[in-house]
């Protein structure tokens, strides 16, 4: 009860402060025609009421969060919010888990036919762009989520993949399927090239250097007209080929969809395998405590480089798909905003959590696409969501599940 009273008092205080701040803007108006001052007192009432309510709601929700936290401590459960606990039991139930997976796979396979017609395959194209970002987010999840190495220039590797395909197909007429692995390898090489000089860096310094790397890549692409086509980019990039068959528009879109879907599945498979292996554990240990990790016999240089290289590999790979799907690339597709967006997907989803990152990537790509009506408020909503997430669920949508190992028996099974 006393808490309630304090909250109320605070809310009134905040409302008064807001009234004071907005008084000259929203209440006083100088009417220059009649040379007189209008006092719009009704605005003052509105501001006071609305801010008081918002402030009250805000304080109550903060208190609710603290209560949740206390409860989770007494339960000796990690971040132990209720949804998380139920999700953990769900994931521990392997039969149910498998059924859900099969259901999701069927739905994903049938999706392009369900939502498209011969003329209208807009939804398929939207989904292809979203899935491209799912692969990107899963790739960055290796570097940032598992190994804890902040990378603010991740989009550069995506650009490397895209330009690799564009240039190779222009110059040597190489096909999509030849270039797909080449794009991945090119991304990986750039990952290594970035990884070497920054082995010793940590935290803020790492962020600055990777940010610089991303910017340099974009500037080189923009200004080296002779090779990369400058700001105009490269057009007429061939679509993925399927045994020289001639495909109509819808079939092309669906074909791209299946290619990227296969890549998503491959990424998930590889990430899960790595995560539950000696390599993945070394990454996580590096994230948790670098000195202890090294003292326990983990080679820091090899572990960091492998995390960078593998993260960059997926970006390069999916860059090829991006170039092929769009027929056209220019440096504007590879801005810092995109790097930040991918990082936001990883953070929102929950660092290191594969399922969480997929959900966050789909949400952050699909919602703006279908909520075009609110396009102007997109960044506003995005910012608000981020702030709220960090306050109420800093560990992400789906925080990293603990994995149980069976001793003495065969196999522990792969799980996120």
């Amino acid at each position: 009860m006393r808490e309630m009273l304090t909250s109320l008092k605070n809310a009134v205080g905040i409302a008064l402060w807001f009234v004071f701040l907005t008084l000259p803007l929203l209440v006083v108006r100088v009417n220059t025609l009649n040379n007189e001052i209008e006092w719009r007192w009704e605005n003052l009432g509105w501001i006071a009421g609305v801010t008081a309510l918002l402030a009250l709601a805000w304080q109550l929700s903060l208190r609710w969060r603290d209560r949740q936290r206390d409860r989770s401590v007494t339960q000796d459960e990690e971040e132990g919010m209720v949804p998380r606990a139920t999700l953990q039991t769900l994931l521990d139930n392997r039969v149910l888990c498998r059924r859900l997976l099969v259901g999701a796979a069927l739905l994903a396979a049938a999706f392009p036919w369900l939502v498209s017609t011969a003329q209208n395959f807009y939804h398929v194209n939207v989904m292809v762009s979203a899935l491209i970002f799912v692969v990107l987010a899963l790739g960055l999840n290796i570097t940032v989520g598992l190994a804890g190495l902040l990378d603010l220039g991740y989009i550069a590797f995506f650009a490397v993949g895209a330009y690799t395909y564009a240039l190779l197909s222009k110059a040597f007429g190489l096909g999509f399927w030849t270039c797909l692995p080449l794009g991945g390898v090119a991304g990986m090489l750039f990952g290594l090239a970035l990884g070497f000089p920054i082995l010793r860096l940590r935290g803020d310094y790492l962020a600055i250097v990777t940010l610089g790397f991303g910017s340099i890549t974009k500037i080189v692409l923009e200004n080296w007209d002779a090779v990369f086509g400058g700001a105009a980019g490269i057009a007429g990039i061939p679509r993925p080929d399927l045994f020289a068959l001639v495909l109509d528009g819808r079939q092309k879109a669906v074909y791209s969809y299946y290619i990227i879907l296969a890549l998503v599945v491959l990424t998930i498979f590889v990430t899960v395998r790595l995560k539950n292996s000696r390599i993945g554990r070394a990454w996580m240990a590096l994230r948790e405590d670098e000195i202890a990790c090294v003292a326990m016999g983990v080679d820091m240089a090899a572990t960091k480089l492998s995390a960078y290289a593998l993260g960059a590999f997926w970006a390069g790979l999916v860059g090829v798909v991006f170039a092929a799907h769009n027929n056209f690339i220019n440096p504007d597709s590879f801005t810092f905003m995109d790097s930040a967006m991918i990082l936001a997907m990883v953070v929102l989803g929950g660092m290191g959590s594969i399922l969480g990152v997929i959900v966050a990537a789909l949400a952050l790509k699909l919602l703006p696409e279908y909520l075009r009506a609110f396009a102007e408020y997109r960044m506003l909503v995005f910012g608000t969501v981020m702030v709220l997430m960090m306050l109420f669920r800093p560990q992400g949508l789906i925080s990293n599940m603990r994995r149980r190992y069976a001793a003495g028996t065969k196999g522990g099974g792969d799980r996120d």
Binding site: S277, E288, M296, N400
Partner: protein
Amino acid sequence: MTEQAKLLDVSGLTMDFGGLRAIDSVNLEIRTGEIVALIGPNGAGKTTFFNCVTGIYTPTAGDVSICPPGGKPLRINGLKPNRITALGMARTFQNIRLFPGMTVLENVMIGRHCRTKASIVDAIVRGPATAREEQETVDTSYCLLERVGLADAADDFARNLSYGAQRRLEIARALATEPFLLLLDEPAAGMNPQETRELDELIVRIRDEERLAILLIEHDMKLVMNISDRIYVMEYGKEIATGTPEEIKGNPRVIEAYLGEDAHA
């Protein structure tokens, strides 16, 4: 102790931080099966000594060499910490450094990293050899947890363990690297008397079962006097005394270092 091979031989070890000489030509040796304690007042340079020996710092001068049982002596100054661990010297930390967001079992499994081989490709393909290695890692780690009495907590996050349990987990993690020499940095710090007694037994048991040598830094004099075969005393970066627990107890220099100059008047 009969004449046995020196597992660790440190001579003239010196470490400068800028103008500060943190360690001033310290000599120390450990032989098979010994429990050796390194004691001294706070700031004497004990932990710096550990960091020099385990490769976290590169010593300014002096020699650190180790000789695995049945192997040849090897100078390890300037080697990376992970190389030194792979050679067979493991440590724990004074301010506990576990991997808090990983489970107890996974913490120990990290210790197996340098004794397993699976590459990235192996991990993705997961052939029979890799699966077997993975299962061995799990089994060995479970065994170690049972040894330190933490098997029931295997699936808990390391950060949820009690203080004493975290210290024991650090020991299990270090043991997972299959060391022949174990360095414990204040293993009893923050433990209650009951936990300290259990730790006492654990350390002796590990020594006997694993046939390894142990070097420990400790402030709990009862523990030190109980289990050590020999003791080295440091003060202001210098080694001021060495000997058996009885000799150290009676050494006026040591009493002075711990209690101040007036104490032995």
